[in-house]
Amino acid sequence: MKRILAAVLVLFAFAGILGAQKLELYYYKQENQEGLKKLVDQFVKENPGISIDLLIVPNDADATMSARAAQGKLPDILQMQSYSRVAEYAAKGYLVDLSKQPVLAKVVDSSKPAVTWNSKLWGLPMDFAGIGIIYNKEIFAKYGLQPPATYRDLERLCRSLRTNGVTPFAGLLKENWSMGHFITLVHTNLLVEKKISADKFVADMNAGKTSYGVVDTDKLFSIMDFYRANMDKNAEEWNWNEQQAAFAEGKAAMMVQGLWSYGAAIGTNPKLECGFVPFPIFNDSAMNKFYADVDSCFGVSAQSAPDKKAAALKFLEWLATPQAQKIWVEDYKLTLSFKGANVSKLGGPFVDLMTGVGKNGAYPWAFASYPTAVFEDACKNGAQQYVFNKKTAEAVIADIDKQWAANVKK
């Protein structure tokens, strides 16, 4: 009898395994892999019929994604960057339309444009991220310095840091994306001065009606030069690790980064006290806002089998539950786009970001709306080549215009 019972149990167990929906979840945000694993484990525990394989592609993530898309083997759940990337995949028909999913109703309205294409929603917006100046509170306190509110303040600040023998900015010039973020950050700010909204600018660029040089390019490039001049002399040799180390060890007082790098810095030096302020472009402090937007979102592949799609949607639905939100914030250490999300556990800089954005609003990540090739090549490589003296300011602008036109024409 016992034997038969055991056999039946084993059979059931096998049936369970065979019946389990095996999903593949692709993600590129590698800063906190254990956190995401915890999240997925919790989901699988609550839904024994579904199992999820994690697939991480940290660098050149899009290369892998598009290669798999072309093979027809896209993972069931995709973590994507917002705006253009979503639009690109949605336009090619790789994504499931999520407009009618109940989980999207739980998302704050301001984050919906990030996943909208053709007036439908194609992703579940997840984390809200900001790029600005992360500063070391200890160093600032030591020299009696205040975080900068205006560009003039920032110039003064850098001078006093240098006279005290502290490098103002931990640089990251060896990898092109950091300068790519920086040039678009300054550019989006300068659009405000010309009273052009980022959306209108992108639309006009797409229509071929304007140029990237519509802003005060003298200012754009002089701020880039200023930024470079206040890095370590050798910053061209620095990559992500060197930047994080220099900041975490207090060799440099600030870094211009997204908050994703706060996690890395705090990992190296848990005692680090950081603050977060917008990179000030103007001398009118009211005009200086965080460069912040929805960074990543989850989409579901249209190529997956219907039952897998259903399982994937179940996962997205589950992400809005309180226990999922808690793990997301406390372990994956990212903000959330759900209404009423509690992100107070994330630590100082995140609170700075949320209060700053709550008080003054934010400038959108215009680069996320550029055609992806323009941001990947003309902006990132162009800005880096400018800093390396390989390209003149005029050539950087001209190449962005040229590549933009070529990508819209297609």
Binding site: A67, S99, R152, K174, E237, A302, Q303, A373, N381, K390
Partner: protein
């Protein structure tokens, strides 16, 4: 030896046929597909057949154009209409996928970014239409942007070579007001610091009283800077006049003094910006690939041959030394890149005092060749050692008895008998160097274009995945394949003729 017919058939089924099938499946088929893509404008993402499509579009663009019949039924069987009014299909493979592609092609469906463009990709490569960074070219490096602040210090050699030496006497006098030599640097004189000159403007009492806005000061500083760069007295005066109108007498004098200073600095900025430049040459993708290949072929083979000659003697430590030289070849390229990145970033600056290594476009190509030679030489050494040990000792001894000098023995016996080894090594080093990707990607990947060390394959990678030009990338890959085939083919042809048989 005559084989039985059944044995021959057996061998064919067991060995030859599978080889042919695998060859067709994993080489000919992908190659043919690649070749086909190189004649399209594919962006690397657009599926050839839609995966999901709006109901209306799907019906008008596809279903309406298919006549009733098995083809239409096949298409209808694949696509299902979902709740959001879209037709979508699952991932397909093999024959089903091919059949769907064929049907839709016949129905005239071709996506905007997956179209045949004929030889357009090839034409644009040969007529210089692709990105300028692809070709070798001259360009000008400009070290100072006149709208930026003057650098606090400039290295002596840099300042003198690229700026001071180009100036005439008057200009040199002006330059001397701004920069003074102090140790290794020319330092900006504190009197001529634009930031300090502007500061009085931002601390005008009127600002505190609210009679003046900080943006008005910004605009004024901007105007004065522009006038200074253009050395336009009239604009300067007009700007001062408007700005100072609401101010007190004492403030006016302060503003005027500050503005004059900024104006004066402007003259020098123009001078610095127009002279502190240098003509440079960029190898481009094509040039760097050739440079890298030549460097590798010549240096790796010379080094390997030299080590092999040295280790072919009766040394006590020869086995250890052979292992030591071969070791780098066992390491993965990524590990090699990490090791050398560490050396270039942490070790060499401390040892030599020279700070920039991999980010210096004059050094980087050479350093990459060096690392790659270091990695490859061990392998070639083994081939040369094997070649050397195959040379019969009796021939060499006979030559020695005949009184041939060591040079003559090397020249007339060793080298000719080693030609097969050279053939293999040179063939391998050409092919490997032209295909190089991992080493450069790991060492300078994200700054490749800024340093000017992008090999051909990496450029293809960027084209396909960052620039969304998969069609062009495939065309480049095809050309690279042809180039490698032609170069190694010629090399094999000529070197095989030089090989001698004992």
């Amino acid at each position: 030896m005559v084989q039985k017919k059944s044995t021959r058939r057996f061998n064919f089924i067991l060995f030859t046929a599978p080889a042919f099938i695998l060859y067709a499946l994993f080489f000919l088929l992908p190659f043919g597909q690649g070749l086909r893509i190189s004649f399209t404008n594919w962006d690397g993402l657009t599926p050839k057949t839609p995966i999901s499509m709006d109901k209306a579009d799907f019906e008008s663009q596809i279903l309406a154009k298919l006549a009733p019949g098995p083809d239409r039924d096949f298409v209808v069987s694949l696509y299902t209409l979902d709740t959001s009014e879209r037709y979508s299909r699952q991932g397909l493979s093999g024959i089903k996928r091919y059949r769907l592609e064929r049907i839709l092609k016949k129905a005239g469906y071709s996506p905007e970014t997956y179209k045949d463009v004929g030889f357009e990709n090839y034409r644009s490569i040969f007529t210089g239409q692709v990105d300028a960074r692809f070709y070798p070219r001259r360009y000008e490096e400009r070290y100072f942007n006149p709208s930026s602040d003057l650098p606090i210090q400039i290295e002596v050699a840099e300042y003198e070579k690229h700026f001071l030496d180009k100036l005439d006497q008057d200009e040199a006098v002006l330059a001397a007001v701004f920069y003074d030599k102090a140790g290794d640097y020319y330092k900006l004189s504190p009197d001529m610091d634009e930031f300090e000159a502007e500061d009085p403007l931002y601390s005008l009492p009127a600002l505190g009283w609210g009679r003046l806005s900080s943006s008005a000061v910004d605009d004024f500083v901007d105007a004065v800077k522009k006038a200074g760069l253009a050395q336009d007295e009239a604009t300067l005066k007009a700007a001062i006049a408007t700005f100072t109108a609401p101010l007190d007498e004492a403030d006016r004098a302060q503003v005027e003094m500050a503005a004059r200073k900024i104006f004066e600095i402007g003259e020098f900025k123009t001078l610095l910006a127009s002279n502190w430049r240098a003509e440079k040459f960029d190898l481009g993708v094509v040039g760097f690939t050739i440079f890298f290949a030549l460097g590798n072929v010549i240096l790796a083979n010379l080094l390997a041959f030299w080590i092999a000659m040295a280790l072919d003697r009766k040394l006590k430590t020869k086995n250890i030394l052979r292992s030591v030289f071969f070791l780098p070849n066992v390491l993965s390229m990524i590990v090699v890149a990490l090791i050398w990145s560490f050396i270039f970033f942490h070790l060499l600056p401390k040892l030599t005092g020279i700070q920039t290594w991999m980010s210096d476009s004059a050094k980087a190509p050479w350093l990459l060749v060096m690392v790659s030679v270091w990695q490859a030489a061990g392998y070639f050494m083994v081939v040369y050692l094997a070649g050397l040990q195959n040379i019969p000792q009796d021939v060499l001894e006979a030559a020695m008895i005949d009184g041939a000098s060591p040079w003559n023995r090397l020249r007339h016996i060793t080298l000719p008998l080693l030609v097969p080894a050279f053939t293999v090594c040179i063939f391998l080093s050409i092919a490997n160097a032209l295909k190089c990707f991992d080493l450069v990607y790991a060492m300078v990947g994200p700054s490749g274009y800024a340093v000017g060390t992008v090999p051909f394959v990496m450029d293809i990678f960027f084209d396909a995945f960052a620039r969304k030009l998969a069609g062009l990338a495939t065309a480049k890959a095809t050309l690279l394949f042809i180039a490698i085939l032609a170069i190694t083919g010629l090399q094999l042809y000529f070197m095989k003729r030089k090989e001698v048989q004992l």
